[in-house]
Amino acid sequence: MMDWLRRHLPFVLPSTTIFLFCFAAPVAYFFVMSFWQIKSYRLSTDPTAHNYIEVWTDYFSSLWYTFAVASVIGLAVTTVAFGFAYFIRFKAGRWGTPLLFVALLTLFGGYLTKIYVWKTILGQSGVLNTALQAIGAIDEPITAFLYNPLAVVITLGHYTLPLAILPIYGALRSVEDVPLRGARDLGARPWRVFKEIVLPQCQAGILFSFTLTFLFAAGDYVTPLLVGGPYTSMMGVIIQHQFGLRFNAPLGAAMAFTVIAVCMIIIGALGLALRQSLKVRA
């Protein structure tokens, strides 16, 4: 044990230190804080579950809405990413690598740029409305394009898509061709080959992509604020308020841990469902 430490410590010490002080310690601190309470503008440190009860009662609709939007984004983006990755792995031939590169290139410009791009496209005097008016499809600009849940889904989906393609593409690359021909030879129609040979081999990649986009969407508070409109109060925005305007860090911490717990449950459940449905029954 001492020997092992002496040999590996120089490598793990810096990262362990950073992790402990910059991540584990603050998270532990906020976890403890989530059981504290603000009573008449004073911090009371008597442990209570009151904050958590408040999250599940007063903020239930926001909680539900957050996970609904995040799930829709996670599922939609993972599906589109799978289609794209599948295409470049199996159908695009020598165009595969350039296509993948183009997809990654869209990451250039960053996060805020994408939000404003969609504001420009979907806004009242935006590209879409102007175009529709120009061809005479509408008389008045449609205000419903922006400031709604769909705008949040589109904007966040657009940003996370290239990130979701990579893990799936990585998994599909290690799916070999000969077993697919083998399955055809043994009588499987193309759809069965896909479901029983291709999909089970890239389960981990699919779950990874979903996790990435889902967590990104569930934790984001900028996009809903800028394109989501007044009624689309996602948890990220509300949590940010607790730490900012509301000066109620304990409630904010309780909200954050609730979101983290629900995220883990949803991802775990999806992982199990995926494994069950792709289990080999032969």
Partner: protein, 355 residues
């Protein structure tokens, strides 16, 4: 099961090109039920393309594929009564040995009891007992080969196709698998077609050999037939070892480039004369010549003892000839560097077209 008179596969005029490259020129091939056929040829001769057209992974540009009397030319592999053992095996990496083997029957919705029974049967046949629940990643090359074989055989195909089935195995395992494949073919019968570039594998396994060269089947027959009466220079050198002498026929007589000649009726043209190493005799240069024999004189370059025979290498001018001799006394009468006489009877050589 031995070869029968019933035709199981009939290829008529099938051809295949990839862009400008003609992989298979229009060719005919019939395979009898019970045959163990080797499609033998150097790499790039179109043999794998031909196999893929029988399996349905490629559709021919022209011609028809009939299997069991049914036209399957445009049918995909899942609809054909063939199963393939792939080069590199192509096992399903996310399944156990048993799941791999049962997959085809599972697709056919075989009743559970029958499926279990047949899996048991096939596992016994290929000796995979105790390995059923292993992942296929934990298998050795020979074991993976058996799983690939079992996975295809369990379907009881009309024709079992094997694409270079032993190429990935080391020599010792290859020999063992050859014996194994023959045992399996003998015990279950059925028709096996396999593709190989290794003539010893073809001769060691198959009762029928189709030799391919540059997209054409240049000769088909039993190993013995092809060895004894090759129809071209290519076949003679590809199946077994052969000494090739160049010559020209003119006015019913062939004159060899290295000297000597003999009567042989036919058109005036360049020909090759093929002589098997075991059909030639070697003697010291001053030994009396057997009656009516052809001979060459040269220098003994090498002599290697190979157990049942000694392989002599003789240089005549710049050309190298091989002589296999089981005569143990000869070794004492000729030494490396000696002038020697290489002779053979007229009846031993074959005159072939130069292709």
């Amino acid at each position: 099961m031995a070869s029968t008179d019933e035709t199981i596969v009939r290829l008529t005029g099938i051809s295949k090109s990839f862009g400008d490259l003609v992989a298979v020129h229009p060719l005919d091939l019939t395979i009898q039920r019970g045959d163990f056929l080797a499609i033998l040829g150097p790499s790039g001769c179109g043999k794998t393309t031909l196999l893929n057209m029988i399996a349905g992974f490629l559709y021919p540009d022209s011609g028809t594929v009939e299997i069991g009397g049914r036209d399957v030319t445009r049918q995909s592999p899942d609809r054909r009564p063939t199963n393939m053992v792939f080069q590199g095996y192509g096992l399903f990496p996310h399944m156990t040995v048993r799941q791999n083997i049962a997959y085809g029957l599972h697709i056919r919705k075989t009743p559970k009891n029958e499926l279990k029974e047949r899996v048991r049967e096939i596992i016994d046949l290929v000796h995979l007992e105790e390995l059923e629940e292993r992942g296929v990643g934990q298998l050795s090359g020979g074991q993976a080969q058996r799983v690939a074989l079992a996975r295809a055989l369990i379907m009881r195909p009309d024709v079992l196709l094997l694409d270079e089935p032993l190429a990935a195995l080391d020599l010792k395992l290859r020999k063992a698998m050859q014996t194994e494949l023959r045992r399996i073919h003998n015990s279950i019968g059925g028709t096996f077609v396999f593709v190989t570039h290794d003539q010893s594998e073809a001769m060691g396994l198959a009762n029928q050999i189709a030799v391919m060269s540059a997209g054409r089947i240049v000769q088909q027959g039993t190993a013995e037939d092809i060895y004894a009466t090759p129809q071209s220079r290519f076949v003679s050198t590809f199946i077994g070892e052969a000494n090739i002498l160049r010559g020209r026929r003119s006015g019913g007589r062939i004159t060899l480039v290295l000297g000597g000649g003999f009567e042989d009726a036919g058109n005036d043209e360049d020909v090759v004369v093929m002589l098997r190493p075991e059909a030639a005799s070697l003697a010291p240069a001053d030994a009396p010549l057997p009656d009516d024999a052809l001979y060459l004189t040269g220098r003994l370059e090498d002599a290697v003892f190979l157990g049942t025979y000694i392989k002599y290498t003789v240089a005549v001018d710049d050309e190298i000839f091989a002589v296999h001799s089981a005569d143990t006394d000869l070794r004492g009468r000729v030494a490396i560097g000696d002038a020697v006489q290489l002779s053979w009877a007229h009846t031993e050589h074959k005159v072939l077209p130069d292709t």
